[in-house]
């Protein structure tokens, strides 16, 4: 048989006669009695099982009031539930834990489904709106066509501009190598930083911290 463990009397009274919300002391005591991890949610069940065990040992406590129990002393020494009862208690608590996990999983699922439903509803609303638009546009069909064509032109034009720009940049990219490496390629007599191919940047730098004069700013980099 396990050793007895000592707890404060008020914890014991709470366990037997109920009282304030499960405090950590009570949870400790119930965990010890059932030899398993009892949290606030399981406390009532564990307390019921424990109470049975205590009343079985001390039947006169059944009728005693909280005050009378408290009068028995400042502390209480109790032993853990007998093994059979312990196994039963642990079984019940494990089942509860399982149920809780399942419940949590179900809750998750519900939440997920709800969210999905909301999303689908939103989509549907959007689709309905579009459908309405389409219907509206269909009513004035040629307008739609001309709009699309002009947009296409616009995009093509932009693309061409970009291509041009890329080509330009690529072409000048080769020149850039001369910027920092200029000193190497050019005369060896000049000081290290005095590169002949130095960019003609200058003037007032940006007021911000760090890289003010942008080495990429001009076409020469």
């Amino acid at each position: 048989m396990a050793e007895a463990k000592v707890f404060p009397m008020h914890t014991f009274v709470t366990c037997l006669k109920g009282g304030d919300a499960a405090d950590s002391g009570l949870l400790d005591m119930l965990s010890f009695l059932t030899q398993s991890q009892v949290d606030a949610e399981f406390a009532p069940i564990a307390a019921a099982l424990s109470k049975a065990w205590i009343y079985e040992q001390e039947p006169q406590l059944t009728k005693a009031t909280s005050g009378e129990v408290a009068g028995l002393g400042e502390k209480v020494a109790v032993k853990a539930l007998p093994e059979a009862a312990q196994a039963q208690a642990q079984g019940i608590l494990a089942m509860m834990a399982d149920l809780r996990a399942q419940n949590a999983a179900l809750n998750d699922q519900v939440a997920k489904l709800t969210a999905e439903k909301a999303a689908i509803a939103a989509d549907l609303a959007g689709a309905k709106g579009k459908l309405k638009d389409f219907e509206d546009q269909a009513a004035k069909g040629d307008v739609k066509l001309s709009v699309t064509a002009s947009k296409m032109d616009e995009h093509i034009k932009k693309l061409e501009q970009l291509m041009e720009e890329v080509a330009k940049v690529k072409a000048q990219g080769v020149v850039v190598a001369g910027v920092a490496g200029g000193g190497a390629a050019a005369d060896a007599g000049a000081a290290g930083g005095d590169a002949s191919g130095a960019p003609a940047v200058g003037g007032e730098p940006e007021a911000d911290f760090g890289l003010g004069s942008n080495p990429f700013a001009d076409a020469n980099w």
């Binding site: 007895a4 463990k5 000592v6 002393g73 020494a77 032993k79």
Partner: protein, 420 residues
């Protein structure tokens, strides 16, 4: 619920504690190793760490009313393993010493008993009493070292007689009344001491043990204690398993049962004399038969083959054996770990005194050395007086205090009933 405690550290008390054997208590830095390693300390409110904290803070009220000091059997494991050399074991024994000193009245004896300085005075009291008897009797008998022959119911001084201590120190008029008075004095002192102790315990928290039913009566707790703790030394036996602990346990057991044996012998003599010879034969006038046997059994000096004498001698041997064990353990103590205090040495001295002078008296009597026999017996009387009269203030007081405390600890649920 506010459980703020007002503490008023008492410097004087700390110093007092240091004087009675707790001098290292200030070194403690509360690591709790002591409470963890103690083989007896209960898991709830373990000692001696809390006592160390109370002592450092000078919390006198808590310490003098602490029941746990009696739960400790002083194996010294805590002190051995203390990383700071704070000697918690010594502190608990110092606290017990304080109890010996302060519980029983008159407290002046407690003061004398607390240091070696009081020893001569304490010895002087019985020395004067018995010296007075010796000198009066010497005047009456005509010699300080008389030899006796039997003369009817009485004794008569004779040159070729034998050494009879009862002749020089007549039991009926000197020894028995004085020891009777001493015994009554001691008992009264203890009664007061116990009352004080129990009053102090009143504030202790009670532990309700589920499955024990109603709180047991003090008597049943006392019986349980006597059966388990006293007769079997069960807690004592659990107190450390090392060589030195075993030595201490056997030593204590031998001394304990030697005293039981010697107590039985004394009882037989007293009953034989006062009940058999005085009451049955003298008052009622019965002769022979059972009365004769009872009277004979208590008649001194006894023949060496008398079972009572054999028991007495066996007791003496056991006493010496036990004392040797206890003394050698104490002298071998590592003073860096635990130390012996005056209370320890006083008790050992007195019991050694009783054992050696007792055996000496017997031997010198048997070999007829009257010049050695009477002074040895005189010393024996002094030591016995010292043991009995000052019992409540000496370390031997634990016989009573510890027994009561352990019984009370059972009653309030600090200790469980039955085997440990």
């Amino acid at each position: 619920m506010s459980n703020t405690v007002r503490v008023q550290p008492d410097l004087k008390f700390v110093q007092e504690l240091q004087q009675v054997g707790g001098e290292s208590l200030k070194k403690c830095y509360q690591c709790a190793t002591c409470s963890v390693v103690c083989p007896l300390s209960p898991p709830d409110g373990p000692y001696p760490r809390k006592e160390m904290v109370w002592a450092q803070w000078g919390l006198k009220d808590r310490l003098v009313n602490d029941i746990d000091i009696w739960l400790c059997h002083n194996c010294g494991t805590c002190s051995d393993l203390c990383p700071r050399g704070a000697k918690p074991g010594d502190l608990l024994s110092a606290l017990r010493n304080m109890a010996y000193r302060n519980l029983a009245k008159p407290s002046i004896i407690g003061k004398w008993m607390s240091s070696a300085a009081g020893f001569p005075l304490l010895m002087l009291i019985p020395a004067v009493i018995y010296g007075l008897i010796w000198s009066i009797m010497a005047g009456k008998l005509g010699t300080a070292f008389p030899l006796f022959v039997t003369d009817g119911h009485g004794l008569k001084v004779a040159a070729e007689g034998a050494i009879i201590y009862g002749g020089l120190f007549p039991g009926d008029y000197t020894i028995d009344p004085i020891f009777g008075a001493v015994f009554v004095f001691m008992a009264l002192a203890f009664a007061g001491g116990i009352a004080n102790m129990l009053k102090g315990f009143e504030t202790l928290p009670k532990t309700y043990i589920v499955g024990r039913g109603k709180e047991p009566s003090f008597l049943s707790c006392l019986i349980d204690t006597l059966k388990v703790e006293v007769a079997q030394h069960s807690r004592f036996q659990n107190c450390g398993k090392e060589e030195k602990d075993v030595q201490r346990f056997t030593g204590h057991l031998f001394v304990f049962y030697a005293f039981i044996a010697l107590m039985v012998v004394t009882s037989v003599v007293a009953v034989g004399h006062w009940f058999g010879a005085f009451f049955l034969q003298h008052i009622l006038g019965l002769e022979g038969g059972l009365a004769g046997l009872i009277a004979w059994a208590g008649h001194t000096p006894m023949p060496l083959w008398s079972p009572v004498k054999l028991l007495a001698n066996a007791g003496a041997v056991a006493l010496v054996y036990g004392l040797m064990k206890l003394t050698s353990r104490r002298t071998a103590l590592d003073s860096a770990k635990s130390t012996s205090n005056w209370y320890d040495w006083y008790l050992l001295t007195v019991i050694w005194g009783i054992a050696l002078t007792g055996i000496g008296s017997e031997i010198f009597r048997l070999i007829g050395q009257k010049m050695l026999a009477y002074p040895t017996y005189y010393l024996h009387l002094i030591f016995v007086f010292m043991m009995l009269a000052y019992l409540p203030w000496s370390k031997l007081g634990h016989v009573v205090y510890r027994t009561v405390a352990l019984a009370y600890a059972r009653k309030i649920g600090r200790l469980p009933m039955g085997e440990i």
